[in-house]
């Protein structure tokens, strides 16, 4: 929409023609929702409580506790909003919980559904990508130093990056949920698609991760022994409680649900979703370094093959591409419907006008 202004006649100062400036009332003069500050204060208190809990008792990691913590946050974020918004929130939350439930059930059952375990194929792809070298083995030989004294700064960075997987996606989701349902729907369509396709792949391609493929405890032993030292950097940073909690949570995870890597996928998903809000290009570039650090960490820890991470990224790209196309198609269809209806009604009113004119003659 343009606001074209007619040019002033020659020889006349345009400013002389302008009417005196008129005071307009800012929309902020309309009182805001009285519960606005209640929500702000409640969310700040929640944030302080969350960080305190994180430092003293470790991160909230099991699904029930995560669900409860998200529910408390949303209660703070929706305090004082109309009942209809609460009803929609309840429906959204039910679908959200259902999505995670399906994910957990499918992932847990992935190795009982009869599809052949992938072991050697993934290793071969990685070796092909890295000119005959096993990247997991190469990284551990080059950078890993056993024992507490062997912890280097990059162990801390890699470990911290690895564990962001349990925090950032949930925070990103909760923030977008509280801020805008429009964006929440966009986020969840892409996220649920990613999870859904990942679950299908867990079933169809049950994949042995590198640490298991190298472990003397299992019969695969296609790699030299690898250390699974994911938690030691985080322990070094002082997050004992979290590491303990995470190891307990592993008990009901599925170790062979490695393809695709959701660690790699989520580390790209969240920055990719929020990227349009970041204006500065160097910051955008910095944000996109994060998925690279995540994949490097996963390979270093022996948690994933490189190809797991690349497929995870590809699924993120595919999910965004798919929903961008669908949303564009929906916009075009709705716009076409509106304009078609407008044209039809204009034509009918034109015919009606002509009939009236003819009758008058």
């Amino acid at each position: 929409m343009s606001l074209d202004v007619d040019p002033a006649p020659e020889g006349i100062d345009a400013t002389e023609l302008e009417p005196p400036p008129r005071t307009r009332i800012p929309l902020s003069a309309v009182p805001r929702d009285p519960f606005f500050w209640v929500r702000v204060v409640a969310m700040i208190c929640y944030g302080i409580g969350y960080v305190y809990w994180f430092r003293t008792k470790g991160l909230i990691i099991d699904r029930i506790s995560v669900a409860l913590s998200v529910a408390i946050f949303l209660s703070c974020a929706f305090a004082g909003k109309p009942w209809r918004r609460w009803a929609i929130l309840l429906i959204d939350a039910t679908l959200y919980a259902l999505m995670w439930f399906c994910y957990e059930m499918t992932r847990g059952a992935a190795d009982h559904l009869g599809f052949p375990l992938q072991v050697q194929a993934l290793r071969n792809i990685d070796k092909f990508l890295f000119f005959g070298t096993d990247p997991n083995v190469w990284m551990q030989r080059r950078f890993y130093h056993p024992g507490a004294a062997g912890i280097r700064w990059y162990d801390d960075v890699a470990s911290a990056t690895y564990y962001t997987h349990f925090v950032f996606p949930v925070i990103a989701m909760a923030v977008v949920w509280a801020a805008s349902r429009y964006q929440w729907v966009r986020f969840m369509k892409r996220f649920a698609t990613l999870l859904g396709v990942a679950c299908v792949m867990f079933v169809v391609f049950p994949t042995v991760p590198p640490w298991m493929a190298s472990s003397p405890k299992y019969h695969y032993r296609i790699l030299p022994p690898l250390a699974r030292h994911t938690g030691r950097g985080f322990t070094d940073l002082g997050f004992h409680g979290f590491v303990k909690g995470w190891q307990q949570a592993l008990d009901w995870g599925n170790a062979i649900a490695a393809m695709p890597s959701l660690h790699a996928a989520f580390s790209l998903f969240v920055p990719a979703f929020y990227l349009p809000w970041i204006r500065r290009k160097p910051l955008k570039a910095l944000v996109l370094v994060f998925p690279l650090i995540m994949l490097t960490s996963l390979v270093y820890f022996g948690e994933h093959w490189v190809i797991d991470g690349l497929v995870g990224w590809a699924l993120v790209g595919g999910s965004f591409w798919f929903w961008d196309r669908v949303e564009r198609w929906q916009r075009e269809r709705r716009a076409a419907l509106a304009l078609h209806t407008l044209d039809e009604r204009e034509a009918m009113s034109g015919v009606r006008g002509a009939s009236v004119a003819t009758a008058a003659l």
Binding site: R22, T23, L27, P82, R345
Partner: protein, 156 residues
């Protein structure tokens, strides 16, 4: 992928003029709506309107999202009508009273007893919803909205 496009709220006066081909501003509103729909298709804007303004489903408004009205919005609108800002709108829009006003009147001034409050509940409800939904653009024929710092369509 992009942040939320800005919303243009379709006001009652705009929707009624669009539906009524005998309305004096019909042609202008149709032209404006075509441009708005083009902007919607290009994802430059979102189109939204109050659910009571749109009424039952109409393909003419297929791109328009509905804003539901809650009792708390109506109560806030009633309070707004009786508040000093209601008087400020009268002063700003009624040339016989004058065009210059002190914006602070909306915050702290008391309504003079002899000035009639002309901000009706329907307009106040729209303003309340705009404030709460963070909407600063409106498609309207109602001059009351000119008194506010809003982008108004169709442009005068």
């Amino acid at each position: 992928m992009s942040p939320t496009p800005p919303t243009v709220l379709l006001d009652r006066s705009f929707v009624e003029a669009l539906r009524d081909d005998a309305h004096e501003a019909h042609a202008r509103v149709v032209e404006c709506y075509r441009e708005l729909v083009d902007d919607y298709e290009a994802r430059r804007i979102r189109l939204r309107a109050r659910i009571d303004v749109l009424g039952r489903r109409d393909p003419l408004f297929a791109p328009v999202e509905r804003i539901h009205i809650a009792a708390q919005h109506r109560r806030a609108a009633s309070r707004l009508v009786r508040s000093p800002i209601g008087v400020a709108v009268v002063v700003a829009t009624d040339p016989s009273i004058g065009h210059a006003i002190d914006p602070a009147i909306g915050e702290s001034g008391d309504p003079p007893a002899d000035v009639p409050v002309l901000l009706d509940e329907d307009t106040a409800l729209t303003l309340v919803l705009m404030r709460r939904e963070g909407i600063t653009r409106i498609a309207t024929l109602d001059a009351t909205f000119d008194a506010f710092e809003l982008t108004v369509f169709p442009a005068a």
